[in-house]
């Protein structure tokens, strides 16, 4: 409950102080404000975008940024921190081309140099250093390594496919184990009941003494119990425990029965029974609309009865309280 902070409309937790840098409107005042982010990584709210770009492309309204933008180029950001958003996007884009792996290189040093180069490119793009040069380098890399890129992309796709299949299998296996375990528990319970019925039957009809019957049967049952427990331990030792939380619910409910949720120091006023209807010429009969507003003469009757009966039947508990 605490880990997921949500608003009624189902979006993630939103900071009420967040504001649109263009119109200075805050989320506190307009809870439904949608902040979108442009190609040049500037935030603004939906209504500002609608207003500014109603007549087609214009310059970015943020001072100092001269980029020409269109309405369509705004997207919803994944991260609140725009520098993170920018870097993630750059890395995602680069990763499509720079997907060489360890096995594509002969020596570890070459691989390290390659990784170093990619980091440098990301840094340059992220901080707008030598943009032209960097872009040219990326292009030349893409044309030089076209074959390797295509091959690695295919490989990656296959690997992802494989991983999802493995995960699927694991889930199925866990489910199966869990079902087996619940079945076994049910069987054990059945066996217990059958045993109980048998003992009662014996006690009722046999001529033997009750003590000897119980001794015999008791020992037999203990043995069978142990056997079942052993088989359970052997079968289920791979992470089934966490699946069993739901099973204990019934026993837990029994445990907390003695809990007193009301815990009032005051005595209830009783000795009266509240009837559904009274002959009453005083209070109006409630119309449908009065009832819909929450009016119910029942409470007036109950209150009157309580005032009539309170204090008549004195109780020690109450006396102590007032003394």
């Amino acid at each position: 409950m605490t880990s997921r902070l949500t608003t009624p409309n189902g979006k993630g937790f939103q900071d009420p102080d967040e504001e649109c840098p263009v119109c200075r409107n805050t989320r506190y005042l307009t809870p439904n404000m949608r902040l979108l982010v442009s190609e040049c990584y500037h935030k603004m709210c939906q209504s500002c975008i609608d207003r500014l770009f109603a007549n087609g492309a214009t310059e970015c309204p943020i001072p100092g940024c001269k980029k020409t933008l269109r309405k369509i180029s705004f997207v919803e950001p994944t991260f609140e921190d725009l520098s993170v958003e920018k870097e993630v996007r750059i890395r995602k884009k680069l990763a499509q081309q720079f997907n060489k792996r360890r096995e594509d290189f002969n020596a570890p040093k070459e691989y390290n140099d390659y990784l170093e180069m990619v980091e440098k490119l990301v840094w340059n793009l992220n901080n707008d250093i030598d943009l032209e040069k960097t872009k040219a380098r990326i292009e030349s890399f893409a044309t030089e390594n076209r074959e390797i890129i295509a091959r690695n992309a295919k490989k990656q796709f296959e690997e992802e496919e494989w991983a999802s299949r493995v995960q699927d299998n694991e889930r199925k296996k866990k489910k199966k184990n869990f079902e087996e375990y619940t079945n076994k528990l049910a069987e054990e319970k059945k066996a217990k009941e059958a045993h109980k019925a048998e003992v009662i039957e014996l006690l009722a009809n046999s001529t033997e003494s009750a003590k000897s019957i119980l001794e015999k049967k008791g020992v037999a049952r203990k043995k069978s119990n142990i056997r079942i427990k052993d088989s359970l331990d052997n079968d289920n030792n791979d992470g089934i425990g966490e699946l069993l939380i739901g099973l204990d619910k019934v026993s837990q409910e029994e445990e907390t029965k003695e809990f007193d949720p009301i815990a009032s120091e005051y005595m209830d006023i009783d000795h009266y029974t509240l009837k559904d209807k009274y002959y009453d010429t005083y209070l109006p009969t409630p119309s449908l609309i009065m009832r819909a507003g929450g009016y119910n003469p029942k409470f007036a009757y109950e209150r009157s009865l309580q005032s009539a009966f309170s204090g008549i039947f004195s109780d020690k508990k109450e006396e102590k309280m007032y003394s």
């Binding site: 880990s3 997921r4 009624p8 937790f13 837990q252 009032s264 109006p284």
Partner: protein, 382 residues
């Protein structure tokens, strides 16, 4: 001096005001201490025990005959609180008048549920929420069984003490209900976000159900850590309720069509609460659903809510002393940051704060650093 005046003075001398901590429309609130003097054998010495109290000084309001009247809400508060005594309801310790002023001496609690919900450094577990709900409902049940409606239930009015006990406060809107005669009631009650749907249709009569709706909203807020239904206008609030819980039909709420005949509402479908409250267990969802029932006659009562399986099932409610609470120093820091936000002096305050903590630790009992006073507990233990 008349006997009555003398008596008043005697009560007044028992309390010392320390500083003003807040000001509302009809009262100024001071933090103070109670002094109980009793004689130790023949030594003739007075002993002072310092129970911290809040002293509410009721302001006078302008009436036809001059600056004489006191606000109706003050009258309500006194009237109601004198009747109620319960561990989960704020205690009215004393009342006295000083010349023309009326002063209420109330229990002092330094935190409230709103502050706790907003403090994102605190982590709630399911048992904590259950504990707060239990204390709220116990207090509310005590009001209702004494036929008193609170009419302003919200996290801000649920005060939390150092010991973790939650107490319902601010009875400025409270009144009794189910009187054996029909008297019109004002529908302009309860803070909007926590206002029950029937109140928007200006009924002349209503009952316990309005408080239960508010508690339902508080329950949801505890789980979400953000207000559940924050509407910005009265009509917008209804719209928001319908969006969240589906527009009611005549079946859900008999009489709804007649109530709402002047306004046309869009038909929304009900989304199961489970989709929003993903981490809540089924018993919690069931209780929430019963509290947020449209038909006020079918809405769960405080007693029924307390007897709901939610409170009996595991996990058990956390003991009040173990509930998450705000650190005292932490609170001071928060206030300072808020205060200095406008002037942009956040860093400087942080620096002060660190220095303050360091001094508090090293000198331990030295009292003043800048304008701040170390907590009363420290002073007492000194």
């Amino acid at each position: 001096m008349s006997l009555a005046e003398e008596e008043e003075l005697q009560i007044e001398s028992k309390y010392i005001k320390e500083k003003m901590i807040g000001e509302g429309t009809y009262a100024r609130v001071y933090k103070g201490k109670a002094t109980f003097s009793f004689q130790l054998l023949d030594l003739g010495k007075d002993r002072v025990t310092g129970r911290t109290v809040a002293i509410k000084k009721i302001k006078l309001v302008q009436t036809e005959i001059g600056l004489q009247g006191i606000e109706i809400s003050a009258v309500r508060e006194v009237k109601v609180l004198r009747e109620l005594r319960h561990p989960n309801i704020i205690e009215l310790i004393d009342i006295y008048s000083h010349q023309t002023n009326l002063q209420l001496v109330l229990e002092y609690l330094d935190s409230d549920l709103e502050m706790i919900i907003k403090d994102k450094s605190l982590v709630f577990i399911l048992a904590d929420i259950k504990s707060w709900m239990l204390m709220t409902l116990r207090g509310l049940y005590h009001c209702h069984r004494n036929w008193i409606l609170h009419r302003d239930m919200k996290p801000n009015n649920l005060l939390v003490g150092r010991d973790g006990q939650l107490k319902i406060a601010d009875f400025g809107l409270a009144r009794d209900f189910a009187e054996p005669r029909v008297k019109n009631m004002s529908p302009q009650v309860v803070t909007r976000w926590y206002r029950a749907p029937e109140l928007f249709f200006t009924p002349a009569q209503y009952g316990y159900a309005v408080d239960i709706w508010s508690v339902g909203c508080i329950f949801a807020e505890l789980m979400l850590r953000t207000p559940y239904l924050p509407g910005d206008t009265d009509l917008g609030q209804l719209e928001l309720i319908f969006q969240a819980l589906g527009t009611p039909t005549e079946e859900d709420w008999p009489g709804f069509t007649e109530l709402s005949k002047s306004v046309q509402f869009q038909k929304y479908n009900r989304t199961p609460l489970k989709t929003l409250f993903t981490a809540a267990k089924n018993d919690a969802i069931d209780l929430l659903e019963k509290m947020l029932t449209y038909d006020p006659n079918k809405r769960i009562t405080a007693r029924e809510a307390l007897l709901h399986p939610y409170f009996r099932n595991k996990p058990r409610p956390t003991a009040p002393g173990k509930l998450p609470k705000q650190e005292q120093n932490h609170k001071i820091l928060n206030e300072d940051i808020l205060f200095n936000k406008k002037s942009g002096q956040k860093e400087i305050t942080m620096y002060y704060y660190i220095a303050f903590n360091f001094l508090a630790l090293s000198i331990n009992h030295q009292l003043l650093v800048g304008p701040r006073i170390i907590t009363t507990e420290v002073i007492l233990s000194y």
